[in-house]
Amino acid sequence: MPSINVNGVEIEQDEDGFIVDPNLWNEDVAKALAAQEGISELTDEHWKVVNYLRNYYLQFQIAPMIRKLCKETGFSLKKIYELFPSGPAKGACKVAGLPKPTGCV
């Protein structure tokens, strides 16, 4: 299993790079995961997406609908792809410390 070291803490990842225990997520972990995604700096726009995903997940134990993510952040899907080149599910959810979305998404 791969893992990522953040501030001396070894955090386990699944084969797709998603952290295995979402409780170990914090802002530094997000930055480290973003770096793995090729995102050098998390801007306010990135954080807007990440925080929305994070809060939705904590409330509902699943990622939000992509349409709702766009609506609530005010970003188009194109913009989200610009921010997270792997897209909302594989990119943004990963940085936000959510488990990898499953099923036909």
């Binding site: 893992s3 084969e15 797709d16 793995q36 699943i62 609908m65 499953t102 099923g103 036909c104 998404v105």
Partner: protein, 463 residues
């Protein structure tokens, strides 16, 4: 930091990680036991006869290869020839389960199975989407799709199946009601959001019924549609509302609220467990008709495979595709549309499961022609439609560089076909196709978008 790159076992991709494939561990004996079982009629209720006939009969004419998207797109690489793949299993069959092969293996093309050959076989059966274009043209009716599925079944019996389809697919669905892991509270939040969205885009509010017992129609979507293709769910809701019928969606509280059944792709055991749970859910709700949303393999499962497993008296409801309903209601004049609302040129992609397998060619075309003034066919289409490359679970598999395989084989041919139409919208009625089109449009930079058939129909509705 990152995972070690798994060793190559077949080609440049590794869709089954080491934890699943377990290369180096002894698996041949178990494989042969499971294969023996698959060859016994009593143990194999799905497609035993076509399976045995397909193993016995191939005359190596190569007609299948001429229509195989993977073989053609890779510049006719031998390892992607449909017969090469089927022969990987056929050689084992002949060597261990036929008399001439046991006695004179060199005469009949029989070969010993080794652990390395098992690795290669396991990866190879996940290079074919079971689109069954080859089966359609075979002069002696060999079904390579059945062979691939049987091989996947045998592999699953010995613990080799993609996690996307099993642990995070059928197993998760049976546990929580859907393969997305969506709990009821989240589902209800999504439905409310969709009601808001419909109101905002159309200017009127509709109530989307949930868990209504005894409803005439239970509309069950691929649950992934809520998350990724919400426009299809919204469109279908608007259509049901406009038709004025007694209908409902269902939440995970009622059992299974996801039409998918990934067992179709790799396991009869998983298939049976999921479809029984579907039937139980529909019976508990006491609905009259189960409407399958825009999902190809779910239609195969609930419309056709179900007939071979569940006796009629145990499924007291009709199964119908959303496309059949939409087509019927349009022709009856129950739905009124203004095609000028969809001015862009639109083409239609025949999903393998709805089209070549299910025969549903005209329904989506009648719908689209009614609500899109510039409808353009792709060539080829209908029975000879090219698989998009998302079928048999591929749309949600991307480990080991697999997205590239999907994009450079099936995806490349499809992209060329799409471009030639000049259409701005590719309509389709299957979640796997939509997920694959999302990637194709992005990867091959096509100036178009994809849309569900229900979405385009809803957009053309007049009140």
């Amino acid at each position: 930091m990152s995972a070690a790159v798994p060793q190559k076992v077949f080609d440049d991709y590794r869709v089954l990680p080491d934890e699943v494939l377990k290369p180096g561990q002894p698996r041949v004996e178990k494989f042969l036991q499971a294969m023996r079982k698959s060859l016994q009629q009593k143990e194999n209720w799905t497609f035993w006869l076509p399976y045995i006939l397909s193993l016995d009969t191939c005359m190596k004419c190569g007609t299948c290869a001429e229509v195989c998207p993977v073989y053609q797109a890779t510049g006719r690489r031998e390892i992607y020839h449909p017969v090469f793949r089927a022969d990987m299993l056929r050689k084992i069959y002949k060597r261990y389960f036929t008399l001439p092969g046991r006695l004179f293996p060199w005469l009949v093309g029989a070969e010993d199975l080794t652990e390395e050959k098992l690795d290669a076989l396991a990866e190879s059966v996940y290079r074919c989407t079971i689109c069954r274009r080859c089966s359609y043209v075979c002069p002696v009716a060999i079904d390579n799709g059945v062979i691939v599925r049987e091989a996947r079944k045998i592999l699953d019996e010995i613990g080799i199946a993609p996690g996307e389809l099993k642990e995070k697919g059928t197993r998760l669905q049976l546990k929580v009601g859907n393969a997305t892991g969506m709990p009821t509270a989240a589902f209800l939040d999504m439905v409310e959001f969709l009601e808001d969205e419909i109101e905002e885009t159309r200017g009127y509010r509709i109530k989307i019924p949930v868990d209504k017992e005894g409803a005439e129609y239970l509309l069950m979507h691929n649950a992934g549609d809520y998350l990724a293709f919400a426009e299809t769910v919204m469109g279908a809701a608007e259509v049901m509302h406009a038709a004025g019928v007694d209908w409902t969606l269902n939440s995970p509280n009622t059992g299974i609220n996801d039409a998918v059944n990934y067992g179709v792709f790799y396991s009869d055991v998983e298939f049976s467990a999921v479809i029984k749970a579907h039937v139980e859910t529909a019976r508990k709700l006491g609905i009259k008709k189960l409407v399958v949303g825009e999902c190809g393999h779910a239609f195969e499962a609930l419309k056709y495979l179900i007939l071979r497993l569940i006796p009629p008296e145990e499924r007291p409801f009709e199964v119908i595709s959303i496309l059949e309903l939409e087509d019927r209601w349009l022709r009856e004049g129950r739905l009124k549309v203004d095609p000028q609302k969809n001015p862009e040129p639109v083409t239609f992609h025949d999903s393998c499961k709805l089209g070549r397998l299910g025969g549903m060619f005209e329904e989506p075309r009648r719908i689209l022609k009614a609500c899109c003034p510039d409808f353009r066919e792709m060539t080829p289409n209908r029975e000879m439609s090219l698989c998009c490359g998302g079928g048999s679970g591929f749309a949600i598999m991307e480990k080991g560089g697999f997205l590239k395989f999907r994009m450079e084989t099936y995806g490349r041919l499809k992209a060329e076909q799409l471009k030639a139409t000049g259409a701005k919208v590719v309509a389709c009625a299957c979640s796997n196709c939509k997920a694959q089109f999302r990637e194709i449009i992005n990867y091959h930079k096509l100036p178009m978008r994809y849309a569900g058939v229900s979405e385009l129909l809803a957009n053309a509705l007049v009140r």
